[in-house]
Subunit: 395 residues, 2 copies
């Protein structure tokens, strides 16, 4: 892979937010220095990518997505990666989880990928959290159905498997080649990172939509544009310099080093990707007392890398747009690092869209405790004993 070097980096405390980097070429081939412009670009060799892939788990959250799409996504994930599928699909009237399991088994017969499958609401997992007193993912004693809760389960399973990197890819992608690019982007980012605490967020070059029976390629998603603006206003209120650095405030496709994932609070609901950035700034941005001194000396790298492939996924309709926006902006607004100026900006956006009345504050997200705070060996022991859905394939 040949990609741009970041042309600008914003520093906040120990956090380094790198400007969006374009992918120039998907496959840089056999040569280690394939281009004369080697001072201007980063070339990540296939060997370097393979080395990261072998230490990376790719998490695919699934919730009633079509099996054809899931199989396409699996076919695009490099064989070297561990796959963790966290299903939150319906179990009645049709048991879609069983259908998914069967379908994964058939797919995997020939490719022999290493796949771990679990249902998010497996009673054994809920029990393991209850036994550990880890209440922040539970509702009435059962793991909540949200994306962040699934991400926490996947983080713990990835940790159990000794993986050093964790990437998230949605199950509704139409383009296996785009999935492959996401994973290579993750590996490229981790290769470039100077800190063991690092994050790679995917920026889509285009997110095609169908308008008047034609494909149209707008540059930004509808929610992202607003989220990015609010995050940038937040950052510039602290640095004193206007910035457009954040382009990936709602990036569903993103990856974390396990060292960083271990320390983060995940926000329940639609705010999870936005809140990762906010929480990194809260913990390591130098604006509040640092939570982990060892991170402050290494720093945290946040990369944003723009794909070559368009992001073509199932259109879930307009229903969630308002909810996503309210969650994402609420996660910024309610942070202790959110300045008055950044709050006013959010309030006026929400009022302008009729999402909040005068003086009404957006909701604060429910937060899930960091994975590091859980006794992992005990958690794993309970799951291995009590789980009704945990299945391991291949490898």
């Amino acid at each position: 892979m040949i990609l741009e070097l970041p042309r600008k980096t914003e520093h906040l405390g120990a956090v380094r937010i790198h400007e969006v980097q374009r992918v120039y070429e998907l496959d840089s081939g056999a040569s280690k220095f394939p281009t004369k412009a080697k001072e201007a670009v980063a070339t990540i060799s296939n060997d370097e990518i393979e080395r990261i892939n072998q230490k990376m788990a790719i998490v695919v959250p699934i919730k009633d997505e079509r099996l054809n799409l899931l199989e396409g996504v699996l076919s695009g994930i490099p064989h070297d990666c561990q796959v963790i599928i966290v299903s939150n699909s319906a179990r009645s009237p049709v048991d879609r989880f069983q259908t998914e399991k069967q379908s994964i088994k058939e797919f995997n017969h020939f490719v022999d990928d290493k796949i771990l499958l679990v249902h998010q609401q497996d009673p054994g997992i809920s029990k393991a959290f209850r036994d550990a007193g880890f209440d922040s993912v539970l509702e009435s004693g059962t793991v909540r159905g949200g994306k962040a809760e699934g991400m926490l389960v996947a983080t713990l399973l990835g940790k159990m498997l000794g993986k050093e990197y964790l990437g998230f890819i949605d199950a509704d992608n139409y383009i296996p080649g785009a999935v492959h690019e996401y994973v290579e982007i993750f590996a490229a980012g981790f290769t470039l990172a100077e800190s063991p605490y690092s994050m790679v967020r995917v920026s889509w070059t285009h997110k095609p939509k169908i308008e008047d029976d034609r494909l149209f390629f707008p540059k930004w998603g509808r929610v992202s544009e607003v989220t990015n603006q609010c995050l940038n206003r937040l950052i510039e209120s602290h640095t004193g310099f206007g910035t457009e650095i954040i382009k990936t405030g709602n990036a569903g496709e993103h990856a974390l080093s396990m060292a960083l994932a271990d320390l983060l609070f995940y926000a329940s609901g639609f705010a999870v990707e936005t809140y990762e950035i906010v929480n990194i700034l809260e913990q390591f941005g130098g604006l509040l007392p640092p939570t982990h001194p060892e991170v402050m000396s290494s720093g945290v790298d946040i990369f944003q890398i723009e794909t070559r492939n368009p992001h073509l996924h199932e259109d879930k309709g307009e229903g969630h747009i308002d909810e996503m926006l309210l969650s994402s902006l609420g996660a910024i607004y309610n942070s202790p690092i959110c300045s008055e100026k950044a709050k006013n900006n959010i309030a006026s956006i929400l009022a302008g869209r009729g999402l909040a009345k005068e003086g009404q504050e957006p909701p604060s997200p429910t937060k899930i405790e960091p994975a590091a705070t859980l006794d992992l060996p005990r958690f794993v022991e309970t799951i291995r004993r009590e789980s009704q859905t945990l299945s391991e394939f291949g490898g």
Copy 2:
């Protein structure tokens, strides 16, 4: 890449037509034997793919396609491959060829790909063909504007560069990851080939269309289905056994070993991909006196490999459908190896679609002489001296 082994092969004389093979997984990773099912599948390692890529030229014919799409296609072609762009774009009122040249130069500044660019109707190329008495590509002394003529020019340039494989990829593809998969499919096929005379044809898993503002994924293209049926009727009329082996009768994305490309007649017009199969059967199918005894002992391998990525390209509308069908079926109908039964099948299809009256025969394609019949050193010398458009980038 992990792909199916062909489950069936049709033999006609020295020609082996292999059944469609599915790609199971795009990236088989670092291990040489990544799957336990290694007796049932073919795993082509990254090293094997790189070895072929370094000997392969990827030809991109372009005719007024949007520059954004061309850049996406270039970004998907592995760096190891030589790129040959044969443009047949308009030179007035806007000189699109100059715009393409500028755009390629900008793209290539950072990636340093090896790219050869030429305009198909370069007076120097026409002169080189005229001097050689190679009249079958000329009309009034100038190279005709068709795809097959561009393919011949590219074949000769690839030969000039000493390349051993030649792959063709259209410039109007929306998905760089799909382009990357095509090239890996070509390399996988050539790795599997037992003969130096081999061809790899891409079968699309789906060719999405927009219907009622939704994406629909039909299995077959509209013309392909009919062409495939007619080729299969032709084959079974010789073997005596019904077959559905051909699934890629109109595969624009395909590749040839240079040894095979050198010997083939290309058909002018829309019939070029269909006629490649017909011409291979004419020359090496044992139905007519063999043209090249050395090929008869090695055999000819034709692979058909089904992509994981959907084929999403610019919709050029319905205008050419009838013309494509008439050309493709005409190329089969007028072959000396076309049996009465296969002719009757074609005649009744054309009559049923109102494309031919009772007793009217479909047109026979204009044929271009094989590249091997041209004096290459002299041709190259003339082009190097007289060409007004030949440009070399990178490497």
